[in-house]
Symmetry: D2
Amino acid sequence: MAGNSFGKLFRITTFGESHGAAIGVVIDGFPSGIEINETLINQDLQRRKPGQSKLTTQRKENEEFQILSGVFEGKSLGTPIAVTILNADARSKDYEHLKETFRPSHADFTYEAKYGHRDYRGGGRSSARETAARVVAGAFAKMLLQQVGIEIVAYVSSVADVGATVSDQTVCLADVEKSLVRCPDENASSEMEKRIDSVRKDGDTLGGIVRCVARNVPAGLGEPVFDKLHAELGKAMLSINAVKGFEIGSGFASTKMRGSEHNDVFSSEGGKIITETNNSGGIQGGISNGMNITFNVAFKPVATIMQAQTSVNKDGDEVTLEGKGRHDPCVVPRAVPIVEAMTAIVLADYYLRNKTQQVG
Amino acid sequence: MAGNSFGKLFRITTFGESHGAAIGVVIDGFPSGIEINETLINQDLQRRKPGQSKLTTQRKENEEFQILSGVFEGKSLGTPIAVTILNADARSKDYEHLKETFRPSHADFTYEAKYGHRDYRGGGRSSARETAARVVAGAFAKMLLQQVGIEIVAYVSSVADVGATVSDQTVCLADVEKSLVRCPDENASSEMEKRIDSVRKDGDTLGGIVRCVARNVPAGLGEPVFDKLHAELGKAMLSINAVKGFEIGSGFASTKMRGSEHNDVFSSEGGKIITETNNSGGIQGGISNGMNITFNVAFKPVATIMQAQTSVNKDGDEVTLEGKGRHDPCVVPRAVPIVEAMTAIVLADYYLRNKTQQVG
Amino acid sequence: MAGNSFGKLFRITTFGESHGAAIGVVIDGFPSGIEINETLINQDLQRRKPGQSKLTTQRKENEEFQILSGVFEGKSLGTPIAVTILNADARSKDYEHLKETFRPSHADFTYEAKYGHRDYRGGGRSSARETAARVVAGAFAKMLLQQVGIEIVAYVSSVADVGATVSDQTVCLADVEKSLVRCPDENASSEMEKRIDSVRKDGDTLGGIVRCVARNVPAGLGEPVFDKLHAELGKAMLSINAVKGFEIGSGFASTKMRGSEHNDVFSSEGGKIITETNNSGGIQGGISNGMNITFNVAFKPVATIMQAQTSVNKDGDEVTLEGKGRHDPCVVPRAVPIVEAMTAIVLADYYLRNKTQQVG
Amino acid sequence: MAGNSFGKLFRITTFGESHGAAIGVVIDGFPSGIEINETLINQDLQRRKPGQSKLTTQRKENEEFQILSGVFEGKSLGTPIAVTILNADARSKDYEHLKETFRPSHADFTYEAKYGHRDYRGGGRSSARETAARVVAGAFAKMLLQQVGIEIVAYVSSVADVGATVSDQTVCLADVEKSLVRCPDENASSEMEKRIDSVRKDGDTLGGIVRCVARNVPAGLGEPVFDKLHAELGKAMLSINAVKGFEIGSGFASTKMRGSEHNDVFSSEGGKIITETNNSGGIQGGISNGMNITFNVAFKPVATIMQAQTSVNKDGDEVTLEGKGRHDPCVVPRAVPIVEAMTAIVLADYYLRNKTQQVG
């Protein structure tokens, strides 16, 4: 059973190889009558695309999308929404040398092991190019969530060992977008830039952490016991290329705390029950409690480096891979809209799932 | 859409409240003709149960299971396997005081918000009692995996700030079980015991990390792009009570590494392609590469403490919750078989999923 | 991927072999706060059970059910509802002769071919005993549908070539239950009885048709394009033992009509849009239109006859099967509550599915 | 939860409105390494398209498909296969008069009731145009089935009250395609032609039955208890536009037979266990038994007629719909490749599902 669909009620299926004819997504379960905001789709695609600044790869990708179905007179029909993005002309010859060779820490070897036959050009299906389709789907999910007031903001909270200090209460898209690295802490942002620039010159790469906050999520979203809200968020994030870790609320730090300091005490504020701290990250027992949902996503340094590396070919013979061409010294800034997109998709799905809890 | 099922081809559905008549599980998709090892089921249930040592709660639970279907003459039929565990006599009156009150960092408030009507006795469906059903299902998954030589070992790698040093290559069940805290590093184990004993006296609790390694997993398990093997493992772990974080391979530490140090160089060993390091944690592009699968699971300190705490009732009025009764000062040792069980369930499912990749 | 679950949002999983420890069902997705009517469950089980009259087998089955979970203080919790029915003491020896032999038009041969290992006692999993679990689940579905006013009535509309004349508008449970064969047309009922009695004496069996009508179904239930409401009803019915055909509305007869006579003309009645005829059977384009949903289900004569038959054993050698013991000369009357149950399950599921069509 | 996907392991998702930009399908779960036969796709699309003969509508549709993903160097990659067919220029103005009006026995009213907002041009999503996407997916399924020798032939077995006599053993594509009505019985075919031609002149329509046979299906395909093979086939067929009934093997006729005549006696032929008759239609207990799978599908006369009809608009006011433009007097011949396609999709899915039944 293949795994190219995500979500149950708000369900997306992505398709496409990085150097095939097109990539795209079908969204099934998008409710009818919602106004479609193409500007939002375009804006998020621009935030994800390569070549935005000196910090990212200078490779060009086509980001023009076409909505093939599911929208009529500017509003959703309740039928499947299919969106495609044509791939720019692929220079397949650039990849001939990878036909028989496995790049370290890429998916070349495992795709070969699983499928036998693979599209070796630019990683094929395993390329991060696929995440453009997720960003499109995420924009649709955001349109749905806007109907009920839910908002999502992600940002870079660390690059290598440079961390940032940001308020989950007030962080906003505008502040994030002011920074080339998408870190709204100005000092940290500037330090991160320097690090990335320096590693770029070495032909090397850096990782980092994207933090995400979802605000105004009503209490009640989440489906015990296996489909706990943070479990699905975790899966969504771990399905993004280069992600190695996920933590909700207090996360790994909680393992060093005592229960008495970790517990979030309930109190009442203006008739609404709240918690005084938020180690729970807005989710208790797998269900949202109305507080901010907060989590961190760990991105490894990407595997494509501009340095010579040793590897093997199909026959197991040692080969040397030259570092050449263009690369992303740090993809974490470009990962921000992808994290937002996957968050929006999960919340839209769970919003719809929760509607089936009441009859009449 | 409710969330009490897990897995696609090896699919489990658990049911039951902690103080209802019974808990149980139905496993659909267990292949026919596999010999059923009831000793293994019993052994894993014993490892999970409360009251194993002074380090865990002295509460008694019934752990006698009954297989109702799917097994005939000692072998699986290929039909659904239903297993129930009756609950011991519930002293419901012990819980009357929780009828209208929300315990801090428990699921009382969110279940109330979501369902309106809830079983307040011992957490009801949100109780960790439910994980006994997972352990049963996990034992069945282990039986399947044994057919193909896959083995899984989990252990406690840290409690609070006490960490252990353990080899992923050689760690084995026997060594884990020698330790009361299920940490096969003797020095660390003894230090962890002390910490837990000390916090128990304070009526407080501690968290920690469970590390898991799966060995002899063939290359090729994993379903891009959304059902990457580590994404599903992450969801499985995050669905366990008290889990706040998950990391595969190098995990959060990878965010501070350079690509050139993080990349796992391929080489050839006895005709088999291996990687010289294993920052990937045995998974690349979401598909197993034949190396050990390794990951960490972060458990928060459990919320039930033996100290008075402030909270609110349904009406938002402040109440004080007394700390009384029995509690688990640190559930991490008991979580070890649960982590193993969920790992086995994921691997059994993905083993079956991968079989549909080839025709003929 | 095994097939023991049905429905998406109102999702049932049945388990159990006819001569194993128990059969049962888990219902996931039953909304919280609904009052549980155990009398209804019991009543439907009584209508399905063997030995109700001289027209059905005199075999006794235990029909006492136990609700293990999901219900608290008489109301649903929104958590999985597990129900078991213990099997009466199985006299397994009665079935020794079937260990190696395939009964004609039973599932013995195909289960052997598929699973290798099978429970040959009384058909095992393929026994109609399994439908008791469906009847239980159907009673729960009816409880949900009662909240929104939907009602379902099924009845026997033909046995062999004896047909009945019944009004879909007025037929009701009380009238159906007055008849031993569950046919509310008195003359037809009495003729059917005679036929069944006569065939019983021959040790033979008869088939027939169950007709079902669902009233007060709101317009809008159904999920194009694959999950059309009548497609799912068809699957539900065809999954019942001994069913060979399904038709919605005008059904097979429509193939002999002209479009101009078949089309259902719309008109307006008291502000509501209706159709003047109902060849559509209440469903157009796969979606309910607010008219009565009507369909027919064809049951073959059951395969167990009290006559000697030729067959083969595992090795393909010819054997003779004696006709002995007790049998049902016509199961169609007992199929009525099963058809109702599966109808209720589909409608409950589609009712919930339709709730996800609107935001806010 | 929307319903635009079909199948579990061989899973298709179709999209598109008849007068939108494009229709298409994504196939997820198609195994890797299978040679792609574009000629077969094209051939089946040609068999389905309008305007093939004087018996079908003269409307033109674009049938040029484009494979966007999942195929590389002529072979499948194991990744999702997306295929689109652009719609010819839509003359939307032709449909302005249907904006507020509900055509009898079409889906206009029910789509309005369910979705609120609908694409009224040519039926939008409810148009049979969508079945072109199914035919594409069916061609891929046929490629998979060819690997294991399964073949599928469908043909028109009746139009109105004109029936045909055809052998399930020998009927073949070439014979079917010789006939304009796709009925391989020459006499019946010629009579059917006359009837269709006559009704066409009246501006009216006729229905009929498509019969389908699948040969060389191995014993063992089918998933008890809900996903019985014939239950899924039934759902697949009932999801096709204009289908009102489905019967497997002896079907509705079985209701008039006695068990002793209906039972299929087993015997042995060349070491293989067979049944001497095939009332079972090749399926017993929901699992294929190795005999031919045979079933009938009832198509109503299509709703679009060239006669004036009475109906209502959104406000419930009576309106008259003129019969004008082009129409299909009998779609049954064009339904033949659609029935084949859906059969192939079900069998491909169940072939893969059955692979998960054995370990190792």
